[in-house]
């Protein structure tokens, strides 16, 4: 057992840090470290910068333009990017669809789509959930009916994240209504500019339109845009969700938020002293730091997958549950740290138009972030669904 980074991993980390110092634009860094909402243009720009350096998708195999990075290198990449203040990379193309196309896509799919995911030219979004199909995704109803060399798609998708910026959507649709729910589903790749697609924003509790409803009315999709075989879409969807969960602990983001919490609680005062010197608050801060330390080493342990680790399915679900809980706990403490300042939510000028909030710069956005992060224990398979997955492996009943 040696829990230190190897010389190779240390030099990889140093290279990452130098790269972030040199290439991450200062305005993006300030937005991320200051806790402000990212801009869609930041995500695109950052992906282009990474791609220009050959780091568009370090986890992809070299044959598809990746680095073939080890799981530990991927972990370090996420960690350093988060701590350094880089914007997120979009998971939809890079982590979800990309691996599916490498495994199940046609050569034409691979040649056309993968380079465009890598370069950031294509922004992908996900068409999975429907009003009647959330945790029970296999009950989805959006229908695709063959008409010559096209499918005609009709239905409604919801909780579609950032689809307002998307160029393409990968969609689960029902192609065999007579089959058992999991058997009659196919995966289609749909150009968002196709006639018949309507995107309607859903305003979330933090006041932002982060997700959308997507209506599909007689949308014609070439049969060539189907991934793999007809009616086997559920297999691909499960493969994809496995890739989504593998990276869900969010250690880097939590470490960054913990630093912010310490910095803010050193600036806030209560009863004439810094909040961080208040023993009750300090112990709660210490507890979340311990929880994060445990998750960090759990994540590292599960990456290296020695015999003492639980199975991959259990590990991914544990990381998802604890990762979301800790990120939520940090966002709660950040709100508590600014006290009544957290009540300032949306600034207004004399005419009632949006304006900057009064109060400390660091306080703006903390309340919205707390509200927004409730999603973490809901999306990507709610934490209750994760517990069902674990208990299936643990108890098997």
């Amino acid at each position: 057992m040696d829990l230190n980074l190897s010389a190779d991993d240390l030099s990889f980390r140093d290279e990452l840090r130098s790269f972030l110092t040199a290439k991450l634009p200062a305005d993006m860094r300030e937005r991320t470290l200051g806790g402000h909402r990212f801009e869609a243009s930041d995500i695109r720009r950052w992906q282009q910068i990474l791609h220009a350096h050959g780091w568009g998708a370090i986890h992809w195999p070299k044959e598809f333009g990746g680095l073939g990075a080890t799981p530990l290198q991927q972990y370090l990449f996420e960690l350093e990017c988060a701590l350094g203040g880089a914007p997120i990379q979009l998971a939809f193309g890079l982590r979800m669809l990309g691996p599916v196309l490498m495994r199940y896509g046609s050569p034409a799919h691979q040649q056309y789509f993968l380079p465009r995911i890598l370069s950031g030219e294509h922004w992908w979004c996900q068409g999975y959930s429907e009003p009647g199909a959330g945790s029970d995704l296999a009950s989805l109803k959006t229908q695709a009916v063959r008409d010559g060399d096209h499918y005609v798609v009709n239905g409604q998708k919801c909780w579609n994240t950032l689809g307002q910026f998307a160029d393409w959507i990968f969609c689960l649709v029902r192609t065999d209504p007579a089959a058992k729910p999991q058997r009659g589903i196919s995966m289609l790749l749909i150009d968002m500019k196709t006639p018949g697609i309507t995107v309607r924003p859903t305003v979330l509790l933090d006041g932002t339109p982060e997700v959308n409803e997507i209506w599909l009315e007689n949308v014609r999709v070439p049969i060539a845009n189907r991934v793999g075989d007809e009616n086997l879409g559920w297999t691909y969807a499960k493969f994809l969700l496995g890739h989504e969960r593998a990276n869900i602990a969010g250690i880097g983001s939590s470490k960054r938020e913990l630093r912010r919490l310490k910095s803010i609680s050193a600036q806030e005062t209560r009863g004439g002293r810094a909040l961080i010197e208040d023993p009750d608050f300090r112990r709660r801060l210490a507890r979340v730091e311990i929880d994060l330390l445990a998750l960090e080493y759990t994540n590292l342990r599960m990456l290296s997958a020695p015999a003492s680790s639980p199975s991959a399915a259990i590990s991914a679900s544990i990381l998802k549950i604890r990762g979301s809980e800790i990120r939520q706990a940090l966002s709660e403490l950040l709100v508590e740290a600014i006290g009544v300042g957290a009540l300032r939510f949306a600034g207004r000028d004399a005419a009632g138009a949006p304006a900057a909030l009064p109060g400390a710069d660091y306080a703006a956005g903390l309340t919205a972030s707390y509200l927004n992060l409730r999603k973490l224990s809901i999306f990507g398979g709610s934490n209750e669904i994760q517990k069902n997955i674990i208990s299936q492996a643990l108890i098997g009943l």
Binding site: L3, L285, S304, S309, E384, L394, I395, L397
Partner: protein
């Protein structure tokens, strides 16, 4: 970054687990508990022959000089088997105290015997991270040596020890022990108020009433710093024991809910119970990660680095011990509160884990004191 054990370490783990499974079953343990001493000389001899007792004896003193990972693996197996022999007290804590603080003559005299299972030694003194009563034994200089007065409460395995290492303060005012004295069992003035601990181990409150020892009985070195290091190492071994007990507690509970039928099928099919067991597993895995981290930090010469890792581990081990122990009993239903069923014994062992080597509150406070901006 490597979490794997070497083949030699795996062999040690396998041999310890095999011994515990085959030679230290629930019935055998019950027999040992019912005996007058609550301790088995046969088991202790087996431990010596298997090399378990020499792991923490340095090579130059005739031992194996093994590292923390070996202690981790052995202690985990001991926790799995609810072993009540003085492994932690004698083969880890007292052995390390002698190795770190003993004179060459003391080391030559005691360490080979400790490794051979011919001597049982225990440390009597403060190892509670400041969460104990604060009482310490007082040592006053006499013409030929020292006189010891005071009470060392709750000394595990004192009744079966040949040698007590009594931590004492030489100053007149209350404070942390700054000296360590070897007191043989049966020394005049040494009184043991014996009892069985909640986790079925032989123990005593050790009271010194004008116990006189000569100068050669004093162990040297920076006692204050070394006792802190030894307490952290003992805590590490305790946490490793806890992992074994936690794993077994969960495994017994899963097995029970898979086989206990009510309402026409196994109760493990109910989601309320399933999610409880998932929560047990999640807490165990988080705690395990910090115990592994502690294994790489428990020898760290920097007390801050060492203390933060050990305190973090204890906070999560205590948390898991309480939750997993209580839920294991709960999910066993009426069987869980029966003395006849192993789970109630794991529950009591886990209660002792919570209470020993400093409370979760004391360790959370120590961790909180050391917080840095990063």
């Amino acid at each position: 970054m490597d979490f794997a054990f070497t083949p030699e370490q795996q062999l040690l783990a396998d041999s310890a687990r095999r011994y515990v499974t085959e030679q230290y079953g629930f019935a055998r343990r019950k027999q040992i508990l019912a005996s007058a001493t609550g301790h088995s000389k046969d088991v202790w001899r087996d431990f010596a022959e298997l090399g378990f007792l020499g792991l923490n004896v340095p090579e130059e003193d005739g031992g194996l000089g093994a590292g923390p990972v070996e202690t981790l693996l052995l202690a985990t197996a001991i926790g799995e088997g609810l072993v009540v022999e003085p492994y932690l007290a004698s083969a880890v804590v007292a052995t390390r105290a002698i190795a770190r603080l003993g004179s060459p003559a003391q080391r030559a005299d005691w360490l080979p015997k400790l490794a051979a299972g011919e001597l049982v030694a225990v440390l009597a003194g403060d190892a509670d991270c400041g969460s104990g009563s604060g009482d310490t034994v007082r040592a006053t200089a006499t013409a030929g040596g020292w006189e010891l007065n005071g009470l060392a409460p709750v000394v595990y395995h004192a009744p079966v020890a040949d040698l007590l290492l009594v931590a004492a303060r030489t100053g007149a005012t209350a404070g942390e022990p700054d000296a360590l004295f070897a007191v043989p069992a049966g020394a005049s003035g040494l009184r043991l108020a014996r009892f069985v601990t909640v986790d079925s181990q032989a123990a005593a409150d050790a009271e010194c009433r004008a116990v006189r020892v000569d100068g050669a009985s004093r162990l040297g070195g920076d006692v204050r710093a070394e006792l802190a290091a030894i307490a952290d190492y003992g805590l590490f071994a305790l946490c490793a024991e806890a992992l074994g007990a936690l794993d077994r507690c969960l495994a017994l509970t899963v097995e029970y809910t898979r086989t206990r039928n009510q309402f026409g099928g196994p109760i493990g099919r109910f989601q309320a119970l399933q999610h409880r067991m998932v929560d047990m597993l999640t807490r165990i895995e988080q705690a395990r990660s910090l115990v592994y981290l502690a294994a790489t930090r428990c020898d760290d010469p920097d007390p801050g680095t060492r203390g933060a890792a050990l305190s973090a581990a204890k906070v999560l081990i205590a948390d898991a011990a309480r939750y997993v122990g209580q839920q294991a009993v709960q999910l066993h239903g009426g069987m869980g509160v029966s003395d006849e069923v192993a789970v109630s014994h794991y529950f009591k062992r886990l209660l002792a884990v919570e209470l020993r080597f400093g409370s979760a509150d004391a360790h959370l406070a120590r961790f909180a004191r050391g917080l840095t901006a990063d």
